[in-house]
């Protein structure tokens, strides 16, 4: 028998899910659901939109309005949905490849528009679904099936990218710091604007094996030991930051939201009619 939370928000007939043993995707998915439950939102006023990838399969397990779209285009579909029904809470579930390789252009422009969508990137540093090719977030030097001698690209810092592009809520957490992730999803949904949450997760099957990162547990221990909270991170020297990454609420700001601006234009024409 599943927990109350799972019974309430998952399509339990589709469980157990397809993800590999120890894959972090289930941890992030449960965290999103827990955040929605904590906010007490009406299930019918939520629309979860995903692209293509292992992570993007999450939408199929969730009992909200859900749309499983095409690779890289979740934000394009989500933009249309939000404009048609501005009252919906639109949540995008996407992978690092989906969001920042094929879908990178949609990401920067959704952020630039500050459209009220909460995007959660399941960053496992690889293309899991297609067998472990390197992605824009594969660290330099790490291996993928398409980088057998090590990746020569510089990886994106997705939070810095989203911030620079105009997102008004930007945060990062990991599958180890689950309570932090839940809180961030809550705050991201509450933010009236484009919210970008990077969930650092694991693909033990491909990225893990290819890079000799050990089992699922070892990969989580790595996330536990190298994540530094933003307040502490700011106080570290360059050398002390080596190999570490920052978690927490990285950026918040306030500026006009896209669907409200759009409505303002419509209203300006309906005056006096």
């Amino acid at each position: 028998m599943p927990s109350q939370l799972v019974k309430e928000y998952f399509r339990t007939e589709n469980l157990p899910h397809i993800w590999c043993p120890g894959c972090g995707n289930g941890i992030v998915t449960r965290a999103i659901v827990k955040a929605i439950d904590n906010l007490g939102l009406n299930k019918d006023e939520i629309c979860v939109v995903s692209g293509i990838g292992c992570s993007s399969r999450a939408s199929g397990y969730l009992d909200f309005n859900t749309v499983h779209t095409t690779h890289g285009r979740a934000l394009a579909f989500a933009t249309g949905i939000k404009l048609a029904k501005p009252n919906l809470n639109v949540i995008v579930i996407t992978g690092d490849g989906d969001a920042s390789a094929i879908g990178g252009n949609h990401l920067i422009h959704a952020a630039r528009r500050n459209i009220d969508i909460t995007t959660i990137v399941f960053n496992n540093n690889t293309y899991g679904m297609t067998g472990g090719q390197y992605s824009p977030t594969t660290p330099t030097g790490d291996k993928g099936t398409t980088a057998p001698f090590g990746n020569i690209d510089t990886n994106f810092d997705l939070c810095e990218l989203a911030k620079a592009a105009g997102a008004t809520y930007v945060s990062r957490s990991t599958i180890f710091t689950t309570n932090m992730l839940i809180k961030q999803v809550e705050n991201g949904i509450k933010n009236k604007g484009f919210s970008f949450i990077e969930a650092l997760t694991t693909c033990p099957t491909y990225y893990g094996r290819k890079n000799r990162k050990g089992e699922a547990v070892d990969m989580m221990v790595y996330l536990k030991e190298n994540a530094i909270n933003i307040a502490a991170y700011d106080k570290l020297s360059e050398e002390q930051r080596e190999g570490k990454f920052v978690v927490g609420e990285i950026y918040k700001s306030n500026r006009p939201e896209y669907t409200e601006e759009y409505q303002r234009i419509i209203d300006s024409f309906s005056k006096g009619v």
């Binding site: 599943p2 927990s3 939370l5 469980l15 120890g22 941890i27 449960r30 089992e215 699922a216 989580m220």
Partner: protein, 66 residues
């Protein structure tokens, strides 16, 4: 006398994939992997902190309630 029951910590064995995440991060060493699945070996020590539930990727272990 402890009032702890199996109903406070519930395992859905059919969903467990034996990844060992709950075992590794349980602060009280309550759990183990047995025959490829999670097993409650020391229920008495469980402090009902819920960390296993938070991090189980397969929703296969949880505390009673939500």
């Amino acid at each position: 006398m402890s009032t702890k029951t199996q109903a406070s910590l519930i395992v859905e064995k059919n969903w467990c994939k034996g990844c060992g995440i709950c075992v590794a991060f349980c602060p009280k060493n309550v759990l183990e992997i047995k025959d490829g699945k999670v097993n409650i070996k020391d229920l008495e020590s469980c402090i009902e902190c819920g960390q296993c539930e938070l991090r189980c990727p397969d929703f296969a272990i949880y505390l009673g309630g939500k």
